[in-house]
């Protein structure tokens, strides 16, 4: 799961390294269009539907927080 998520992130913004331990939002590595793409790609990849109310800073600011969100949605 971790590897796939990193791949998806790098596909959206190839100029950044998302495997690093950094706050994506504060580092401005993703903009609003990226986030829309990211959510769509994650939903497609893992066959889940992410609740709009879960699209918040805390769930997308790092690789770990994204992985936790996926786990919360039943992805193993």
């Amino acid at each position: 799961m971790r590897g796939r998520v990193i791949e998806i992130l790098n596909g959206i913004r190839p100029e950044f390294d998302f495997s690093e331990d950094v706050n994506f939002i504060e580092a401005r590595m993703l903009d609003s269009l990226d986030l829309v793409n990211l959510v769509e790609k994650l939903e497609r990849e893992f066959s889940i539907v992410i609740d709009g109310l879960d699209i918040v800073t805390d769930n997308f600011s790092s690789l770990e927080s994204i992985l936790n969100l996926l786990k919360k949605n039943g992805v193993k």
Binding site: R28, G52, I55, T57
Partner: protein
């Protein structure tokens, strides 16, 4: 009689000194304190170099400081030019070189990133610096302004230009009065406006919000820029601050509709929603309309080259998903002329022509750019008797059966991407001529996927990360192509030029 916007602000402060003018995260400022800060800055500007009717740049995050900087610049008898702190340094440098502002207002933190591109002889004022004025003489300040005229500029707004340097559109006080009066009259805005402000300070939407602060003692709630990515958080803030007016670009509203977020937020305080800058797909608009039946919705249209907007449409009935929203009718005191390819006025429905604007709303021109100004602001071809300008927008439109104006498309290479007006030619120019990354290329826009796409000829294929990194040093993020196609040879026309239509059609199926 209205001459200078700041006169409205003086009245608002006198009426509501203790009212909150700006809320910025956990800080807020009253009208009287805002006036104080603005006056102090004006005094500092006057004491340093008593310039008048000159551009003054502001390089700050959208904040309380940005608001009082803009007001302070107006108090000093000059006009403001807000700059985007997230735009690459080189691009800021190009703007500064062209406009040569008298001052740059910034902070010690922000100034670092542009220190190398500030032209010599530019005065710099850092707001967190100790050498600020500690007193001001408002009688002197106001008396200086009283000698100004309504066609003096109030601000410069920069817009994408095909030569790689943005064009600085000069807007005057009179045109803002004109629009603001129309807005207040038409929408019956009272003194209780609470505006949920998402617009970057470089957009014209923010300039309108500033006018409402000045004209109607409106409260501006700064919605943090990065939160636009997280619409649920923005909607939470709208409820928290009981925002009753929003003027947004449709992109985020489409996102909110697609995620069904209005099912979780009642937004009972919202009374008026304006949107402009892009086409709002009717399906997602209807979602908003159905969820917020108590709100007045208006679609506004207007290029940067006319102050704010020139047409509007209040949606007061159901429009089927498949039908586009009209851009409506001219705002009062604005004349819209649709010109066909022979420069004749179109008056019948369903005949396409270019939308041209006539009247007070027209910008004064592009700052320090007489050639581009002369190309865009031209003599009204329908008037052979005296000098009269129109602005040719490059937007193709037609009347529908009801006489409402419908947007049909662009004449040229300008697109709206994430709400930003972007000249694809500018992206090409930078990639090919400025950065010299490719031998030749063509940038087109895939509307369905919202992807800026580059087709290019080069000795070797460049990696996408490489492209993005290099281009990101010259262009803002929203202008960096998302998709890259390396070709041996670009398709050409019979006249040898790159066949742009071919690639445009290719990506748009």
């Amino acid at each position: 009689m209205n001459i200078n916007l700041i006169e409205m602000f003086e009245e608002s402060v006198a009426k509501n000194p203790q009212k909150i003018a700006v809320i910025d995260k956990d800080r807020s400022i009253t009208f009287s304190a805002l006036r104080q800060q603005a006056m102090l800055l004006a005094q500092k500007i006057i004491d340093t170099v008593g310039c008048q009717n000159k551009p003054i740049a502001v390089f700050l995050d959208k904040s309380i400081e940005c608001v009082y900087s803009d007001l302070g610049i107006l108090y000093s008898g000059n006009f403001y030019m807000n700059l985007d702190i997230y735009t690459p340094t080189e691009r800021i440098g190009n703007i500064l070189k062209l406009v040569e502002p008298c001052f740059i207002i910034s902070s010690s933190k922000q100034i670092q990133s542009i220190a190398n591109v500030i032209p010599a002889h530019t005065n710099v004022i850092l707001l967190d610096d100790e050498t600020q004025a500690v007193t001001f003489d408002d009688t002197v300040i106001l008396s200086r302004i009283s000698k100004m005229i309504d066609t003096d500029p109030s601000c410069i707004i920069n817009t994408s230009g095909s030569t790689g340097t943005p064009k600085g559109v000069v807007l005057n006080h009179r045109s803002f009065f004109d629009f603001t009066d129309w807005a207040i009259d038409t929408f019956k805005f009272g003194d209780d406006l609470v505006m949920g402000s998402l617009s970057p300070a470089v957009f014209d939407i923010y300039s309108f919000e500033l006018c409402m602060i000045m004209a109607k003692s409106a409260t501006l709630v700064v919605l943090p820029a990065h939160k636009a990515m997280f619409p649920a958080e923005i909607l939470n803030l709208l409820e928290q601050y009981k925002v009753n007016f929003i003027f947004w670009v449709p992109t985020i509203m489409v996102n909110i509709a697609n995620r069904n977020l209005l099912a979780s937020f009642k937004l009972e305080s919202l009374k008026t929603i304006w949107f402009a800058g892009e086409v709002f797909p009717t399906k997602q608009f209807n979602y908003w309309h159905h969820h917020l039946p108590h709100v007045t919705f208006a679609n506004l249209y207007g290029p940067i080259e006319i102050t704010l907007d020139c047409t509007y449409y209040i949606i007061d009935k159901d429009i089927p998903d498949e039908e586009p929203l009209p851009i409506g009718r001219p705002c009062r005191n604005t004349d819209i002329i649709i010109l066909d390819s022979e420069n004749r006025a179109v008056t019948k429905p369903n005949i396409e022509g270019e939308l041209c604007v006539r009247g007070t709303s027209l910008a004064m021109g592009y700052y320090n750019n007489p050639e581009k100004t002369a190309l865009a602001f031209v003599q009204n071809p329908l008037n052979k008797s005296y000098p009269e300008l129109i602005y040719r927008t490059g937007d193709m439109v037609c009347y529908n059966e009801e006489g409402l104006i419908m947007f049909k498309g662009r004449k040229d290479n300008i697109i709206k991407h994430m709400g930003y007006r972007t000249d694809l030619g500018e992206i090409e120019h930078v990639i090919i001529n400025t950065l010299k990354l490719v031998k030749n290329g063509c940038v087109v826009y895939n509307h369905a996927n919202k992807e800026i796409t580059l087709f290019y000829e080069a000795e070797q294929e460049l990696s996408v990360p490489d492209f993005r990194k290099k281009i990101g040093q010259a262009l803002p993020k929203y202008m960096i192509p998302a998709v890259y196609h390396h070709l041996d040879l670009l398709q050409r026309n019979t006249n040898g030029k790159i066949d742009r239509m071919y690639y445009k059609n290719m990506v748009n199926g």
